[in-house]
Amino acid sequence: MEAFTSLTAIAIPFDQVDVDTDQIIPARFLRKHRSDPDYASFLFNNARYNDDGSEKEDFILNQEKYRHGQIIIADENWGCGSSREAAVYALLANGIRAVIAPSFGDIHYNNGMKNGMLPVRLPIIDCNTLRKQIHEVPGSRVAINLLDQVVVGPEGTNYSFDIDPLHKHCMVNGLDDISLTLEHEEALGAYEKKRQIEAPWLY
């Protein structure tokens, strides 16, 4: 996966609670392979395009100022619902590298971490402030420094955030955690032996 250390980019305010992964990528596109040349168009497809394929003008991603945005500032419970990792693939296909929200669907949060799309939890009041500031000056940039765990708002305010050290380590180094896990091969083998003795009915 692509490493993530820091990013300064146009931020997109997404004013909606409970944005589920069905909205992020409708189910009919899940059968498509990631290499599909149209993959980027699957993102928010129902909200983003008319039946004839033309863009719905009022949808935020279609607005000129936000077209090259790479950071979404969201509301509560972003990415709830289905476990589809394709929601992350579709965001990445559009150049979105981070989502800042007060809370995330737990599975979507992990899927982001595994794919170099950084989910950042900030308090709801800070997310509201950031969205308001961006609406006032569309096209504003927000900076994220993962090494220092800081988000810098368009007006220069710093917001620090928490992240699991393990997640941070993998994200900063672009590591897949399987190799990391396999360093614990001895412990895994020992566990399996013990489990067979303690719960023989499972084998």
Binding site: D15, P26, R28, N77, C80, E85, W201
Partner: protein, 469 residues
Amino acid sequence: MAAPKTIFEKIWEAHEVVKRDDGQSLLYVDRHILHDGSFHAFGMLRDSSRTVRQPDQTFGTPDHYASTTERTLSEMTDLEAREKVELLAANANEFGIHHFGLEDIRMGIVHVIGPELGITQPGILLCCGDSHTSTHGAMGCISFGIGASEASHVLATQSIWQRKPKLMRVTVTGQLGFGVTGKDVALALIAQESAACGVGYAIEYAGPCISQLDIEGRLTLSNMTIEAGSRIGLIAPDDKTIKFLEGSEFAPKGRKWELAVEAWKDLPTEEGAEFDKEVILNGSTIAPMITWGTSPQHAIRITEPIPDPEAEPDNEKREAMKRALTYTGLEPGQLMTDVSVDRVFIGSCTNSRIQDLRLAAEVVKGQKVKVWSMISPGSGKIRQQAEAEGLDRIFTDAGFDWRHSGCSMCVGLNGDLLNKGERSASTSNRNFEGRQGPETRTHLVSPAMAAAAAVTGKFTDVRTLMERR
């Protein structure tokens, strides 16, 4: 004396292989289930030249793309969907995992066949690349949905990194009334607490109403836990759990069965164990529920009017309610019993088990459907059981389309969808915008309520239908 423990803590601690100082634990995965949407995970495994660590603990069945009209691969006309079903079979063959193909009687929805075949057992840790993996928790295990990368990790290492979630107990007090099911308990909870109340938590369901529920009802409740934002919904095993599992294909046999049952009896939460959050739901006041909006928290008793967004103090929630009403084409104050339906769907990992079909059949018996209605049993075995009981005749005589098993119209990946603008009564789990097709409107109900909508052509309080008989 050691502090009293919850069932969750007991199972969690028994599965910790490595515990890092930063709070992440490497957990052992006893059982891993995959489906025809898991092709990304197998692809990643292959790309990294890795293999499946414990194929004998790994199971696969096609459900998301499975056709509900055809039961052989050669008959499947949707070639992209067929490719997914074939891909799972090829991956299962290559890596040597258990596989129940389209033509196997044991095939079905992953969250139905896990418990049904005894793959799911109390005390285990189970993962599956599907958010409704919370379902299996009703059997007294830790079970949660994962993404494709995580599934690839589980395939390769039979383990997964997790941070221990906080713990919430939902106690459902009182007694469930006539016509009230596990589905109604789930919707009542989410309506009371919100669709995000469980984010970051594992939930344990307890109390007299949970004991009252049969295993099917408990599986429905645990299934809907993800709609409350939590990936894990546990219920302590009891005699019903043990009876449900006994004799199933992958459940232990003989001496091993005795050992297992003995161990399972030690699992329930001990008196005095502490939870990070306690929620009380009065089961006696729950009625058959229905959703009016685009989130499972937009749920009301069938007897109640649709709420007025103007009465909602929170600005964002108010906007979400208005947006939902615009989408569903309904008005504040309206009664759902005045709203007609276009189609009825009974099925999905939420409500497709034999008891669900029996409850629906009871309502349908001797009636005719007023609108197009379909029913997709949760597995080949359930379909067979229903046919042995004559339920299929009750449904087909009434005009139902009696289908094969699959995720079907819950998610529509196999092409089972509503037409644009249509409104459904659906026993599935998500009423999200566009869930059953673009611009379609989904109203979540129990199987009995869906059956009542089928025979009346509108949303109907099933209790009024049944009391009249």
